[in-house]
Amino acid sequence: MVGELKMRQIVKTFGPVTALRNVTFCARPGTVHALCGENGAGKSTLMKVLAGVYQPDAGEIVIDGQKRVFASPKQALEAGISMLYQELDLAEHLTVYENIFLGRELRYKIPLMIDRAGMISQTRQACRKYGFEIDPEATIQSLTPGQCQIVELLKALMKNARIIVMDEPTSSLSEGEAEQLFCVVNQLRKLRLTIIYISHRMEEVKKLADDISVLRDGEVAAGGTSAEMDIPTVLRHMVGRELKDYYPARQSNPGPVLFEARHLTGRGIRDVSFSVREGEIVGMAGLVGAGRTETARAIFGIDRPQTGQIWLGGKRVRIRHPAKAIRKGIAYLTEDRKRTGLCTILPCSWNMTLPNYPRIGMRLLLKLRKERTLCEAYGSKVSVKWTSPDTAADCLSGGNQQKLLIGRWLMAQSRFLIFDEPTRGIDVGAKKEVYQLLNELVGEGKGILMISSELPELFGVCDRILVMRRGRLVGDLATRETSPEQVMHLAAVEE
């Protein structure tokens, strides 16, 4: 087995959505093949097809000249394909060798006993062979994230993996650890393994890859050797999608400065300063972990910034708790509706009024009839579809849940709204309605900060785009004067 991979004309649909459209992808043994693309471009789907998690609707997988069909991840694993996910799949309280041999422990001569010494020595031998420095008897929780990654690799190699898929392996690593990982990847290349490397970070891709393929909207946008594909080319193919007309048009005339963050430093962010005007939508771009959500959390009083100031309507405000932020007219629609946005088992109306009782004259006692009228009014304002405000929030679709939350913050009379991935997990029609609502909000003179991982969305909706990288604000660009390539370059390439 050498590990020569050819995936031909792969098609995969989920209901009405086509995730992969005739994708052909080949990887050679002894090379690193980088797979690039925006969120939702189909990279993960393609790799899950390879790993047997999904079965393709059409197309074939050929390994070493032999056509293969994987009905399950187990079969793919037996064929020598190993996938390292972003989230590590290790039992924290067990040791390195226990994790490696999990489910296939070596038997001892005496029945029911396992051969600890044998497993430890095999693990140690493998470490020596691949040049890893890992103590087989250390527990996983005592290791750094980088070492855990190596344990995952080791686990794959000891199962005789020939094709290894690494999904954003450096996203949780420090720079030093990332360097070590690159050495390991180079080592594996020398051992003639086939490595598929998914990453957003361009400098990594340039440093490691022999071949580069770019996916966009479920299709192969471009492919070639590393020499043929320079960074601007890759970026252009990643974002080179025309802005669809479903971004509603809007007259933009920003008023005076409404919100200002000055030198915010805290958990995950360093010296972040920016401002938002009345009637302005400011987008925030950046890779996962760049500090966008952390900025929102610092502003909203969830994580207290260590230093820095927040100014609202020309006055300095000190925010130590979300309650204070809400009182001052700041709203935060979190990226995870189920975990931090909604009380899913409670009625929609309760969810809508939850932060607003003081604002709607129910400081102490509730007025149930008034509450109902208000919810119906704001519900129709944001056109949320519910059978009644009494239905539980988890009966609504994702889009309607998002509209419910927008209604909540309208009721709160918020002046400055932070939307964190407002269209994640909602369908196209609902997205359009959310954009429409954003436009109406700024039409009323409110200011909006929109965090999004979808560049077309930012370009379709925002007046300005802020770019974050590794906890710092690295760009503040007028949408009209910039390009997706430039934004992507700032977000993904170390200067």
Binding site: P322, R339, T340, C343, T344, L364, L366
Partner: protein, 326 residues
């Protein structure tokens, strides 16, 4: 609709139990005296269950209420005796001491305050140290009981004159039953018609969301545990009055009945669901169940088995209802 159906099950069970006992023991069961007795016995459980309802709606639990009951009774009694001029030797000796009305009133208040303080301790440990309610109250359950035994080396304090909460009447109703009604109405009102009640549900449904919506989660939780403690203190004084003494063994394993009543009444142990009406029904269900079983000469040991089985059934029913909903 679903919420209504959920209340219907315990309510029908209650009717069923009452009908069953009426059929099996018409003479003993269906008397005014017996019903009045059951209600009076329910008052202690019902008052404690009112607080427990809040705790369980927040997805918490308070295992210490039984021990707290004994502790508060002892504290209240000592206060009463002391304010009536008894020396420590007289108190611990168990001789008869005449209580003044003011002393009884103050003693009752101090008993309730002791409960509130115990609840405050629970609440602070849970919120400030971020410990699981189950663990904290498991610990304080033992601590309160131990301190109670230490107070008079395991012996009770006699308060023979303290009878009002047992045989006293408000108009024609037993005072303890009136207090129960008052507590349930108050707790039910707070739960349904105030911001505090809503926050209780929100915290139980999703604590993270509650925090992100600007709710001071810690303060609400401490208030809830404190309120539960105060209710336990009140229940402790009724228990003391009934026995004319504060027994250090009072309320042993009582938390079982209280938690059972609340769960049977439709509170979800995973939080966010429950009503005060349900809790009332649950409390009555357990009281009538125990009463009937006693009248039928079935031992308390068997009663334990029956009540345990009913808890498991109630939780199963809740799970099935939740699963069907989603």
């Amino acid at each position: 609709m679903n919420r209504f159906a959920k209340q219907l099950l315990p309510f029908c069970s209650l009717i069923f139990i009452i009908s069953l006992w009426t059929f099996l023991e018409p003479d003993n069961f269906l008397s005014f005296r017996n019903f009045s007795n059951v209600l009076r016995r329910s008052s202690v459980n019902g008052i404690m269950a009112a607080g427990m309802t809040y705790v369980i709606i927040t997805a918490g639990i308070d295992l210490s209420v039984g021990s707290m009951l004994a502790f508060c009774g002892m504290i209240g009694s000592v206060a009463m005796l002391g304010l009536s001029g008894a020396s420590w030797a007289q108190m611990t000796g168990g001789s008869y001491i005449e209580l003044t009305p003011e002393a009884m009133l103050w003693g009752t208040g101090i008993g309730i305050a002791a409960g509130a303080l115990c609840g405050l301790a629970n609440g602070l440990l849970i919120t400030r140290l971020k410990l699981a309610p189950f663990i904290v109250t498991l610990g304080t359950m033992s601590i309160f009981r131990g301190v109670t035994y230490l107070m008079n080396s395991g012996k009770p304090f006699a308060v023979s004159d303290y009878t009002y909460l047992d045989i006293g009447k408000i108009w024609i109703f037993p005072s303890s039953v009136v207090i129960l009604a008052g507590v349930l109405l108050l707790a039910g009102f707070l739960l349904k018609y105030t911001r505090f009640g809503r926050y209780t549900y929100a915290i139980g449904s999703n604590m993270e969301t509650a925090f992100h919506a600007g709710i001071n989660v810690q303060r609400i939780l401490v208030t809830i545990y404190m309120m539960t403690g105060a209710f336990v203190g009140l229940a402790a004084m009724i228990t003391t009055s009934r026995a004319s003494s504060a027994q250090p063994t009072a309320g042993l394993a009582l938390e079982l009945d209280i938690i059972a009543a609340v769960i049977i009444g439709g509170c979800s142990p995973s939080g966010g669901r429950g009503t005060m009406t349900g809790t009332l029904i649950g409390t009555l269900l357990i009281s009538f169940l125990r009463n009937g079983l006693t009248l039928l000469d079935i031992s308390t040991n068997v009663q334990l088995v029956v009540i345990g089985a009913i808890i498991v059934l109630a939780v199963t029913a809740d799970q099935i209802a939740t699963r069907r909903q989603s």
